[in-house]
């Protein structure tokens, strides 16, 4: 079946612009995660959605970052007023509900801020 789909695969934008990154999870997966992978910081958790519960936003690095998940499926990560340190690969993952279920990752969006 289809895996986790992320778009765009690459995004280049100027400092100060807003960007939106999209994630389509695997059908039936109610848990959705965003991670950021950068050279300096490695892989970091950003935000977690589970069903209709309030999201866990504890990993968002600043208030310029926000995310939503509409209809319990597609998610959008928005970065406002982008800075050069936002350059990274943004990975989305989804899983079934249960703490022992593995996360399935998309191929990521490579974001470059000029």
């Amino acid at each position: 079946g289809a895996g986790v789909s992320q778009s765009p695969s690459n995004k280049v934008t100027e400092k100060g612009k807003d960007v939106e990154l999209r994630c389509d999870p695997i059908s039936g997966h109610t848990a959705l995660y965003w991670y950021r992978q950068s050279l300096g910081q490695g892989l970091e958790f950003l935000i977690y959605f589970q069903g209709n519960s309030a999201p866990d936003k504890s990993g968002l690095p600043s208030d310029r970052f926000s995310a939503e998940r509409t209809g319990g499926s597609v998610s959008t990560l928005t970065i406002q007023r982008t800075q050069q340190e936002d350059s990274a690969v943004y990975l989305c993952a989804s899983s079934l509900v249960a703490s022992n279920q593995p996360q399935h990752f998309g191929d990521g969006t490579r974001l470059s801020i000029l």
Binding site: G42, L43, D56, G59, H104, F105, D107, G108
Partner: protein, 114 residues
Amino acid sequence: AQSVTQLDSQVPVFEEAPVELRCNYSSSVSVYLFWYVQYPNQGLQLLLKYLSGSTLVKGINGFEAEFNKSQTSFHLRKPSVHISDTAEYFCAVSDLKGAQKLVFGQGTRLTINP
């Protein structure tokens, strides 16, 4: 809070030789343990996971890992590597309960030389 340490940032190995990638973790609570592999320009793929039971876990592509609670380690091994195993490998932990956000190590780049 948890932390994961991958002791080697790079491991060069000759083809058909055995390899061990080391992982140690720190946590005040019990955790689940995972190894993921990342090929260039791709997302993360699950190699194996330890949830409970037998401390020796077998995964895909001939990899296995052994959970050692007293040493808080979860080292990854393969008896004979192939060129196609060249990739970055990440060790990760997650809580048994609550949000399943993964805490990752810094990664080990495995390079297989002919």
